[in-house]
Symmetry: C2
Subunit: 206 residues, 2 copies
Amino acid sequence: MEKIDKKLAILEAANKLFCEMGYEGTSTRQIAKESGANMAMINYYFGSKEGVFIEIMNERIENFSAHLKIINEDKITCLEKLHLVIEGYATRIFNNPSFHKMMHRELSLSQRPQIYDKIKDAMGHNMQMIENIISGGIDDGSFNKVDVRMLIGTIMGTITNVVSAPNKIMNTSNMDLDNPKDKKIIRERTITYLKDLTTVYLTTKK
Amino acid sequence: MEKIDKKLAILEAANKLFCEMGYEGTSTRQIAKESGANMAMINYYFGSKEGVFIEIMNERIENFSAHLKIINEDKITCLEKLHLVIEGYATRIFNNPSFHKMMHRELSLSQRPQIYDKIKDAMGHNMQMIENIISGGIDDGSFNKVDVRMLIGTIMGTITNVVSAPNKIMNTSNMDLDNPKDKKIIRERTITYLKDLTTVYLTTKK
DNA sequence: TAAAATTAATCAATCGTTTGATTAACTTCC
DNA sequence: GGAAGTTAATCAAACGATTGATTAATTTTA
């Protein structure tokens, strides 16, 4: 036997290709070539091309969901909690923008039901957690009474929008999220803005 | 003999299928079957499958851009202008959510460069117009000094987010954007929220 | 009747998947 | 301890199906 990590190699290659080319746009032959594995290994390990996709998704979503749980237990104000969530959420997405784009692509296509449900569940879970934070602030009077789920949609949607078209936000044509320096600039600007927006909207006395 | 325009029939069928199944996920044979035309007619009229796609995109984007131009000439306050833009933008997108999703799919995949550039140009043009409105408000002192392009990203991103996962926003599991009644409820809630958000954020005196 | 529109048939290429054979490492048994 | 048996891993080749595109023949239109 040569290598035992061929399975991992396939997952990594497939992940990269799915992000870049999309699911339909990636062939099993490309995955095999990129990973250095034989084509048959894909079906041998994962049953099918879709099996590879599902495994990648499951892994990522688990990993993603785990993060938010910690914040809600800290003994800090609701606004500080929310700002921690924004920071964490933005950091995660900016660290892997292409995967985040692929997730939304899957969500908007709603072809593979297994994946579709998985993503929606994960997103729903995250939303519920953020909703608890904001609702907590409203209940104790520190936040204005706002449309909570819409505000969550704003936070997520703004970040997604920046990630999918960073140059449109930055108004320059050579910003690149793959460049660490550029990425940091864009991410920090996004976080600063979202903190300001939520603070004003949630705590301004009319 | 049925004397309906086959060229138009192909465009309509392709548009529907591309929205539902994605570009790669749609075959020329499906388009032919759905439109009632022969497969060869697709290449006869449009040269290629991609030719069909590009024609659909060009048509839509032109149509979309035309709308925003009117508003900026009205003799109303900047805030009223912005709210008109929000209404118009939301209404457009909610009237054709599947096309809007397809546009973002294309944008996130950046495969077909011709299409990619077209979308980015159109979006950039729209953003510039909205930016002028908000910047105008900031200049005449009626708006706070905010991160203008980020705020535009918020408006667009929030709407996109609602469209791509309406049930997550509405916190119900049976909302359907294809149902006119549901669509109206979701759209109005989105517009109301965005008007409130922008008003508070732009006009609150600190 | 010439041009335009439409058709069925076919093209080479590529798709995801499956096959049967081979390799290397570990178990079992005498 | 070494031959025999068992296992998972890997491979090249081929599978049938489908892809987008093209051909050549036919029909419709003007």
